[in-house]
Symmetry: C2
Amino acid sequence: MLITLVMSNRSINEMPIGIFDSGVGGLTVYRALHDRLPNEHFIYLGDTARVPYGTKSMATVERYAIENSVFLASRGIKMLVVACNTASALALPKIREKIGLDGVGVIGPGGRKAVEITKDNPHAKIGVIATEATVASNAYYEAIRRASDTAEVMQAGCPLFVPLAEENWTSEPETFSIAEKYLAAMKDFAPDALVLGCTHYPILRDVIQQTVGENVKLVDSGEATADEVAALLKEKGLENPNAVSGKRELCDDLDHFYVTDAADRFARVAERFLGTKPSKLEAVEVYGVDELGKI
Amino acid sequence: MLITLVMSNRSINEMPIGIFDSGVGGLTVYRALHDRLPNEHFIYLGDTARVPYGTKSMATVERYAIENSVFLASRGIKMLVVACNTASALALPKIREKIGLDGVGVIGPGGRKAVEITKDNPHAKIGVIATEATVASNAYYEAIRRASDTAEVMQAGCPLFVPLAEENWTSEPETFSIAEKYLAAMKDFAPDALVLGCTHYPILRDVIQQTVGENVKLVDSGEATADEVAALLKEKGLENPNAVSGKRELCDDLDHFYVTDAADRFARVAERFLGTKPSKLEAVEVYGVDELGKI
């Protein structure tokens, strides 16, 4: 009943954009969207009860992604951003089918951006670093191949980068040492551009840049996604016509955050990543929420 | 129907012992139980779809632990071993209440063992290393305090040890360096005994021993738990009277393994930990399985 009421009182253009991630990493995508689209409102869901996704199977990631998407769709959103690379790689077609809304993942935008910034060189070398599941899916390889049939692609899994980012070890010598180990073959490959294919990796951006060298262009899929979401809103005529008065702040009360567990931990990490805590943050249950009618 | 049939065909003494863990770490407890109790059969459940538990809230860990316990109880077990330290610390009373079976955690046995091996010194110093959630629960502190009111206790959280063990980085310089960082204050405390308060930590045993020094006695809660389970089976008259003919091997077909996700990954890690893969391994669903009648 609440949902019906909310929807009848505002146009689709005034509805928020939904974002979900396996946990806190997607806040880097939220920041990029927020900066790029100051008139838009956001609903963010972090699936902290089931994080991480990157070591889990396709069937499980698909189920979790659908539950998250249906939850967000039930809140009334005009577009869905799948901020989690693993969920984008493994579950995007199923999500679109299920919720009947535009669903934007981070893999396509990230892959296209890497091709675009290296387009002066038809034989550009593009590196991708991501979770084990994303690498195994080959989704980035295919996205890059669709945008360029000549670029050379190399992928590398970096499993410890997620826990290191969660620990906020952004300048510890151990982080540099682990990065050297994971990126040794990538350095030999000498990419022109390197895609940060996991939402946690921008948190380790400095370590990664120093390890691969200053001449490698890093691609943050979150920023690439924000550009594509902006273009898609315009193309579909879905932009919010109401200008927000004054400067919009990150995490202000126009944006609503949900987590599936441990809201206090999420708030602490959000403060570290964004410099501020969410004004509106709630713990919710999304298990078994796989049909819109069930909400 | 199946459950009734199984139960009517064998005595309670012939039933297996159930073991659950958040993932693969509990295999170290399975090994200890298997070595200590060659006539017993085991059913192991690894909740790989929701691992790790150590960074999640009490309410969530409690719910997952109950679902796992009810699943195992429905398979017909005579005793339950909660191999996961976090679940033992946060959920043991609720589990016992729910399943109406003897439930043995790893915290009590580990704490008592540490007191026992340092009992010559009434002012012994006992260190505990564990996940954030286990440390925050103070469960080890309380278990040690119940066994000794004079021992000094110091706890330290080591969040990266779980992903390092999962990566099998058991002798990498980065692992030593991270151990030095986490254990610096512990070394200053100079414990007589140090409890490995997470099932993953025995995998990093050599690194931990070298870091704290050879004179610190490491306590593996899994081994302490196996001793207590053996004593409890005897006390309750629940030992299996049927001697297994020939030598029992780890993971032979008398033991049944279940996981909630990614069975192939579990089999690979099991092989690394135990030197052999489970003969019987199945993926199962335990969501919402919180009442025995629902199975």
